[in-house]
């Protein structure tokens, strides 16, 4: 049935199009008038106008019909109605297809409206994210008070899920989770920022065009590798390597240590930092560079004294975006970090992160209204707010920076 209706629908639209176009051509050109009375819109626009009008009203009719007469379930009536609408459209088009009729303006107005709707989707996504997080988080905070959540020092979201079960009174203190996330992020940035920055400096100031052409793709490949692959690398190679390395030094640490996870996460973020910084530093006007070189400065002096200070806000923003990325990174930590919360500052212990907890809470037990599941949304909300702040700060820094140099 839908196939039949769809086919007829398309056919009728084409009919309306052909009708209006033929009509317009006959009216405008057959008498062979001169250019003085050229039509406002060429025949195609009249045709689009008719076809889209027919299409719109037929869709409207079908929707209404489904809504109110869903039970009738006959195809004949909709078919007849569709034919009727097309006929009416042709009649309308017979009246409207005149030289003065601004079909183009209407058609373009319609297109513009459609484009507008598309950009509305982006807003909807943001609202969707915020609403879904808020909605479920509020339900969570009905069960667990917000203050307990934010200040609690213990995270073990295991609560009995049946009334008669003697389990644990799960605790939902987010501090150790946030601390773990922060710890991993800090160490990741300690690796990513200097290396990324030096790569960017090398790329934008030292590597000639030819070497740049080799290095850039390498960095891009590094950036293109999915994070689950880095996770596998961390789990399989780096974790045990750090463990045995430390064991050789006489320290007994777990393979899930913050250090091991951070190394891999740092590597993942290096290309991100380096390409953003590269952009930022290339954005420093060449005339500043030239000015410095012309005074007899070496490249490193130029970088340190002119380019880095000038690019500082941009580099700051790049690092903030890197931080935001590290906070939200999931697959590496899901594979290589601990699932148990641990309140510690020691980088050789295992900690858990916000994202790991979200995954753990939502991939095991899927009960929808238990505090355990809702906690995932509360964690999501925290993550969203954190990254939102970082992103907004970073974006506004970048904008200010761009405004400074590219007036």
């Amino acid at each position: 049935m839908p196939m039949l209706l769809g086919g007829v629908y398309l056919f009728l639209i084409v009919m309306a199009f052909v009708f209006a176009r033929t009509l317009a051509i006959m009216r405008f050109y057959v008498p062979g008038l001169g250019a003085e009375t050229r039509p406002h819109s060429v025949p195609n626009f009249h045709a689009y106008f008719a076809a889209w009008t027919a299409g719109f009203f037929m869709l409207l009719m079908l929707a209404l019909y489904r809504l109110f007469f869903a039970a009738v379930g006959s195809v004949t009536i909709p078919l007849i109605l569709m034919a009727l609408i097309t006929a009416l459209t042709c009649l309308m088009s017979f009246k409207l297809t005149q030289r003065e009729f601004k079909a183009r303006d209407y058609v373009e107005g319609f297109v513009q409206f459609a484009l507008f709707l598309c950009s509305g989707v982006v807003i909807l996504i943001t609202f969707g994210i915020i609403l879904s997080l808020l909605f479920e988080s509020l339900r969570f905070f009905e069960k667990i008070p917000l203050t307990d959540f934010l200040t609690g020092l213990e995270w073990s979201p295991q609560i009995p899920i049946r009334e008669d079960q003697i389990g644990e009174a799960g605790s939902f203190g987010v501090v150790p989770v946030l601390l773990g996330t922060g710890l991993i992020t800090v160490f990741a940035m300690l690796i990513a920022v200097p290396i990324g920055l030096f790569i960017a400096i090398y790329l934008s100031e030292y590597a000639g065009r030819r070497r740049r052409r080799v290095i850039k793709p390498v960095i891009e490949i590094l950036a293109g590798i999915p994070s689950v692959v880095y996770g596998f690398f961390a789990l399989l190679t780096i974790g045990p390597m750090v463990q045995t390395g430390m064991a050789a030094l006489g320290f007994d640490i777990t393979a899930q240590s913050v250090v091991a996870v951070s190394i891999v996460m740092g590597v993942m973020i290096i290309p991100y930092i380096s390409s953003l910084s590269d952009d930022v530093m290339s954005g420093v006007p060449q005339i500043l560079r030239d000015g410095s070189y012309a005074l007899g400065a070496t490249p490193s002096e130029t970088v340190k004294k002119i380019i880095l200070p000038a690019a500082f806000p941009g580099l700051m923003a790049a690092s903030l975006l890197g931080v935001s990325r590290a906070l939200g990174e999931t697959m590496i930590v899901a594979l290589a970090a601990s699932k148990a919360a641990n309140l510690t500052f020691n980088p050789f212990e295992a900690v858990t992160t916000v994202t790991v907890q979200i995954v753990t809470l939502l991939t095991g037990d899927q009960e929808l209204d238990s505090a355990k599941t809702l906690a995932a949304y509360a964690l999501g909300l925290i993550l969203f707010i954190l990254t939102l702040l970082l992103n907004i700060i970073a974006i506004s820094i970048v904008r200010g920076y761009n405004a400074k140099f590219h007036r």
Binding site: E108, V111, Q112, L115, L117, C118, S119, V121, V122, I123, I125, G128, I129, S132, F135, F198, I199, I201, Y202, E205, Y206, A207, I215, V218, I219, G224, P226, S227, V229, G231, F232, L235, L236, T237, P271, S274, T298, P299, S300, L321, S324, G328, T330, M331, A334, L335, T355, V359, L362, T363, L368, Y377, G380, L383, F384, T387, N391, I392, A394, I395
Partner: protein, 427 residues
């Protein structure tokens, strides 16, 4: 020439400046080399542990099929043939191959040479295609998959002491005998590419996950590309410059940096809880990926539109074309290659995205490939994630191989983008 007051001092200054310069340069070069080394190391370790998966060993075993012991019916139907279990047949065949084995424990070691589920299914497949074999009641020689440990043992024959430990002395004798007879053969591992996931490493494949990923990416492309294009055009060309569009702008940039996992939460809430769509469906995965790709897509599309020089648009306008006409006749076609490559690249990125898919139920074990967009499926990165948690060497190899396939697919997409760009831009 104005000589410095103290030329000795001047030379010292110059020397220390040179040294600083050299150090700085070295740090930069060092960082680049470090990053490249890590990349090389990563790829090499993936290839070195993953390449083994692309071939697999099978054992040519003579199997006797006896209708009476297998089926109660005179003429078993296709369905009966499928439903029967052929493990006993395999075991008998193995015992016939090595008739001196008597004790139960030794027999178990013997059975452990082959993958029983795989072997019995091989018989099943053969029978359902050659039903006459039953009525003729004759023997056949069938290549059947060897068990995971044996496969591992054969692949790591030379070096691995650890691997050798998994085989008993008796088993090694059997294997050597089979090799001498030429019954153990390596062949290209088709199964890995087409089979669904399996609890047995030697039978597990990425077929199901691959198909799921493909479906999801297709959906994501079909949804995100037109909306992204439309939104980009609107924002770049028509949106009035005011507070609101400013917010939209910041919003898009921000969305592009929202952690992927939050899109998973959005998808879980929006599509599964509110929308009532099934868990683990490629459709849902595609929609989530589309939402996630949209902001980046809009940004790249806008950049592509901005790259187009205004000259031709201006001339079209000066000829009396409307804004919309100038746009659709000139600007968009000229930005076309940029837009197309942008969308393809973002799809390549989505192909590797796992975090949001974790939350919409794709972690489930799915025993057969998806047959429709709403049928349960896995996705390649999720399959990698799930396999990665197994510490067994056989699974590690599978994981690495799956990653290689994923990387090859992403590279292919990048290549396509590159070709499109250079093709269209040459014109």
């Amino acid at each position: 020439m104005t000589e410095p007051k103290d030329s000795h001092k001047a030379r010292a200054i110059l020397r220390s400046r040179k040294r600083g310069e050299w150090m700085f340069r070295l740090m930069g070069l060092g960082s680049v080399i470090l990053a490249s080394t890590i990349l090389g190391w990563l790829l090499l370790s993936l290839i070195s542990s993953g390449h083994n998966v692309f071939y697999q060993h099978s054992l040519d075993l003579k199997i006797t099929l006896d209708r009476q012991s297998l089926f109660s019916q005179e003429v078993p139907s296709q369905q009966d043939i499928r439903a029967a279990d052929y493990r006993a047949v395999i075991k008998t065949a193995l015992e016939a191959r090595f008739p001196r084995v008597q004790e139960t424990d030794t027999k178990k070691e013997l059975y452990a040479l082959v993958s029983l589920p795989g072997a019995s299914n091989a018989v099943r497949q053969y029978l359902s295609e050659n039903m006459q074999t039953l009525s003729e009641s004759r023997s056949i020689i069938l290549p059947i998959p060897v068990s995971g440990p044996v496969d591992q043992y054969l692949k790591h024959d030379e070096g691995g002491v650890r691997v050798r430990q998994t085989m008993s002395a008796q088993q090694r004798i059997w294997i050597n005998a089979l090799i001498e007879k030429g019954d153990l053969k390596a062949h290209f591992n088709m199964r890995f590419f087409f089979a669904p996931d399996s609890p047995n490493a030697e039978l597990a494949g990425i077929g199901s996950a691959f198909l799921g990923s493909l479906m999801a990416i297709l959906i994501a492309y079909l949804v995100a590309a037109p909306i992204g294009l439309g939104a980009a055009i609107y924002l770049e060309e028509f949106a009035p410059k005011n507070r609101f569009t400013d917010i939209v702008e910041i919003n898009i940039n921000n969305l592009a940096a929202v952690p992927p996992i939050l899109f998973g939460l959005l998808g879980l809430f929006l599509f599964l809880e509110l929308g009532g769509l099934p868990r683990a469906a490629p459709l849902v995965a595609g929609l989530v990926l589309a939402l996630m790709a949209l902001p980046t897509l809009i940004i790249t599309t806008r950049a592509a539109l901005r790259q187009v020089s205004q000259h031709r648009v201006d001339s079209a306008l000066s000829l009396g074309a409307s804004h919309m006409q100038a746009l659709f006749h000139h600007k968009i076609p000229e930005a076309g290659p940029g837009i197309l490559t942008g969308t393809i690249l973002s799809m390549a990125q989505m192909l590797g995205e796992a975090a949001p898919l974790l939350l919409i139920g794709m972690v489930a074990y799915v025993s057969a490939p998806p047959s429709s967009l709403t049928d349960a499926a896995s996705a390649l990165p999720i399959q990698i994630f799930l396999w990665a948690e197994n510490a067994d060497h056989a699974w590690v190899e599978r994981t690495a191989a799956a990653i290689l396939v994923l990387l090859v697919m992403m590279t292919l997409l990048n290549l396509i983008a590159f070709i499109i760009r250079s093709r269209l831009e040459r014109k």
